[in-house]
Symmetry: C2
Subunit: 211 residues, 2 copies
Amino acid sequence: MAKAALKAAMKKRTAPKEERQQQLIRATIRSVAKNGLSDTTMATVSRQAGLSQGIINLHFQSKDRLLVETLRYLSEQYRETWERALAKAGDSPADKLAAMVAIDFKPPVCDPNKLAVWFAFWGESKSRPTYRKICASRDMAYRAEMVQVCQQLVEEGDYHDVDAATVAAGISAMTSGLWLDLLTSPRSMTRERALQICQAYLAITFPNHFS
Amino acid sequence: MAKAALKAAMKKRTAPKEERQQQLIRATIRSVAKNGLSDTTMATVSRQAGLSQGIINLHFQSKDRLLVETLRYLSEQYRETWERALAKAGDSPADKLAAMVAIDFKPPVCDPNKLAVWFAFWGESKSRPTYRKICASRDMAYRAEMVQVCQQLVEEGDYHDVDAATVAAGISAMTSGLWLDLLTSPRSMTRERALQICQAYLAITFPNHFS
DNA sequence: ATCAAATGAATGATTGTTCATTCATTGCAA
DNA sequence: TTGCAATGAATGAACAATCATTCATTTGAT
């Protein structure tokens, strides 16, 4: 959806269904970041959106559905950002890997509010299979691609001691771990520093490609 | 506290204050793991403990305090486990680092329920300074020690291209990232595999010590 | 017998949801 | 253009359900 349309939706008293839904999802992200998931109510979200109480049930039927759609929105946005970056990147596996790592530490993916929401959902995921499924679908394509890229790098660079699947899992884990640092200690961790830490891992693992 | 005392507390109708408190904290961990933080109520916790509704207010005054004390309990337990492992380990920095990494993927730290609770609190930490402070105090000592150990390794092994602070941050991030995998995809990630991924990182970074 | 520990019904506050009403936009006739 | 229904989006007060907390009463250990 165009940003212009969303801004229009926020000013007009009535707006098309899809625009209002996205406006409410964005308000949910702000509310969860500000109040936490357990203090996010229909009232805090509708207030964030500058709309009335009943608006969420009108567009999403229930609070549960609003939350699920918010997670789906984040998941979709991540996938789009990732696929776009991969399309832009060069054909070499090194370029691809560099691009995949880079987007994880730049907007729109690496945004303080969105990270807070990701962790809020992860924190509930053990008791909510629906959340787990949405998260899993995000991971699958991403990880498959990363293993493949690492495998190509291993072959290209004759890194005999490197296991592609292991490194891929390591990079992916390091990324979410650095997101946690960005969330819990924003004073001592920055996006730039996080990217640097990740790149150091690439450099020592694939020295012929990243040094 | 001794385990025997806790078991006694669970059977007796009355028990010393400290035993009941720990019993309730353990019940909280189970409830948060099972129901999530936002569906954890005074009723679910007291039911888990096999006690009555009012018992929590009697021992913790409020729900908020119960949750804070639960986080503190986890934080303390982590610190104790870590310090004990370090005391047991040899004097060489390699032994120390291996020990620090190992405990992160073994009980009692690496337990499915406890991981779920850690992430539940992290997910709320942006909106709750109290949670952030408790988490920060856990990190500080741990990270300081890890940087120091990595620094010693770098000097010992002449790893001129390795920056100790960067590697330390990378290991720490990879650990929490692997915890997330254990939480969200317990079918495809095991503690053994997670430890292996971490050790591969150590091996490639400090080949003279971990190969 | 005493008294701290534990209970669980009662209470007030909060929350998600509903729905009758209000309001703005759109299409159409004059 | 101007006036006027018709449509459906948005509102917000009201409702029912849930929850944390309180406290008079009960229980059991010393």
